[in-house]
Symmetry: C2
Subunit: 338 residues, 2 copies
């Protein structure tokens, strides 16, 4: 088969890669009707997270089970399944505690921008849909695999409650689906920080009640204005830079919570500053597996349509253009059809 390989900064190629096959008896092989590019893929694409050698890309996936290893239970060929970017056995103490993305046997998924994918720890990792979903639901199901699951974790980690006031830092697909998640959790007021009109539009569609276009100290001041000087109960940090993190912490009320899901790049927190902010901080690689059954249900029941974040659809062999469009902010998120 052909798949996606990153060679270096802004050098993405679609080239021959080995067909995936069962290696461990706990593996499954999936055929992917769609895959996509993640905001986090742009860090190595931009050279901000150097790679040592040509690297297969992609960690978001859903699809049809082609084959399972001899030790796989509950997952059968022909089923439609979704998994997380972190494969997990779902039985170790960390999994049982709801932190499957810290599973003792965790394996990062790394080769999903391809037509076929090997999934390790398949019994623990994969969640089957009750029936084969219609094709129009595939983008939304694909979104549950990471970008929605991560936005949902951001909202959960930020302790979003019914009636609460929420601010979201970052208007990428993750931030936008953080808005959708906060809305689903009953937030009354959702302030989106965004300077880009198409993203503002989608933010409102997903549930944002206010838009703040300012950044940094001005952005924080705007959020304080909008909350009568108090700050937000919950702030979702969906970027991963120092500026975004400080904005999140400073926009949060004392005793409020920051949920951060942007992988931190050169982020440094001063202990004393954090102490006197009185903010609760929680984040990390989202334990998407915990949320998948619920999120898949919401998609299948038509309650949410997270697939709307895909505003560019390309054949998989044009994956290089997908990266380019996202890098240049011409696209929020690109869906790729193998």
């Amino acid at each position: 088969m052909h798949g996606t390989v990153l060679y270096g900064p802004r050098d993405v190629r679609f080239e021959e890669r080995e067909d995936p096959k069962i290696v461990e008896p706990t593996d499954a092989i999936l055929r992917l009707p769609a895959t996509c590019v993640c905001g986090s893929d742009l860090w190595p694409y931009r050279g901000l997270q150097p790679i040592d050698s040509p690297t297969p890309m992609g960690h978001e996936y859903c699809g049809f089970v082609e084959e399972v290893g001899s030790a796989v239970r509950n997952i059968k060929p022909g089923q439609f399944v979704v998994g997380s970017f972190a494969a997990s056995d779902n039985v170790c103490p960390h999994c049982q505690y709801g932190y499957q993305s810290s599973c003792e046997k965790r394996e990062w998924m790394l080769r999903a921008q391809a037509p076929y994918l090997r999934v390790p720890l398949a019994s623990g990792t994969l969640v089957p849909a009750p029936d084969l979903p219609s094709a129009d639901l595939v983008p939304s199901l694909l979104a549950t695999s990471d970008v929605l699951g991560t936005g949902w974790f951001a909202a959960d980690a930020a302790n979003v409650k019914p009636g609460g006031t929420v601010a979201v830092v970052g208007d990428g697909a993750e931030g936008l689906l953080g808005i959708l998640s906060a809305k689903q959790m009953g937030a009354e007021r959702i302030i989106a920080m965004s300077r880009h009109e198409p993203r503002q539009k989608l933010a409102r569609e997903f549930g944002a009640t206010d838009i703040v276009t300012e950044r940094g100290a001005d952005g924080v001041a705007r959020i304080r204005d909008l909350t009568k000087g108090v700050g937000a109960d919950s702030v979702l940090e969906c970027v991963g830079t120092q500026e975004a993190m400080m904005q999140a912490i400073q926009a949060t009320r004392p005793g409020g919570s920051v949920g951060y899901v942007g992988v931190p790049h050169k982020v440094d927190l001063d202990g004393a500053q954090l102490f006197f902010s009185h903010v609760r901080l929680h984040g990390g690689p989202a334990p998407v597996r915990r949320y998948l059954p619920h999120l898949i249900g919401l998609v299948l029941n038509g309650k949410i349509n997270p697939g709307k974040v895909f505003d560019l659809v390309l054949p998989l062999n044009q994956v290089a253009e997908a990266y380019k469009a996202m890098d240049e902010r011409r696209a929020i998120k690109a869906l790729l059809r193998p």
Copy 2:
């Protein structure tokens, strides 16, 4: 009256200070039957937190109301009251959210190592005991004012739950009362990190089930051993140094919580490390006012005896010796009798 003044590193004097009097109509004047030295007083005493000029000391207090300003409600002369180190109006949005130590009108208490004390925002700050307590309860009531209230917040911020596994970093009075708090909240296993025998003894008396004498990476490894490699559900950080904070974060299981109450001195957190630890972090100046009614009740009903942390009692005019004994770790915490 005479009171305590810090002139510089290891230079504490007991000298003439102005008698406190009502300045604002919201003030009250208390007569203090006892006061004490806090672990945090040792930072400026040791010169690690420089002072600009001679500084009156002390922020833990309880006592008899002598006089109240014209705007004070619910507090009357003759009552026995306890207040927090952070005066608060108890009605602003931060107070109502349970974070009185971030009150919009917060004033830090700074002159309590003296026979008399002015308390601002008295109606919000002070909690009266239902009756005059017997003299033997005064040390425990004094402890609720900060050191117990802070240990309690550490346990609450670390999300201690019935049946949970807790580790406590720091064997000062705050850490020891963090153990007592975790026990009260129903923790099943409480691991105290302590190398000092008298403190280990008190730790066990307050509820510690295990003692770890190792520090740093070895201490973390011991806690992992004791928890079958998982880590503790809740870790209380009661020191405020980089080493203690890293020890706390690394001893916590993914999805577990660190409650930190040691005022951070040169503590620096790496965002990526925190992210992948999956730890929940919450701390700050303890909102003691929130807990005071409950804690005073526990003391008056004989459920807890936090006053046991006072292992040195001196007349207030020997306050310099009290600082010295705590600095040299000859005393856990010194009680002073005016």
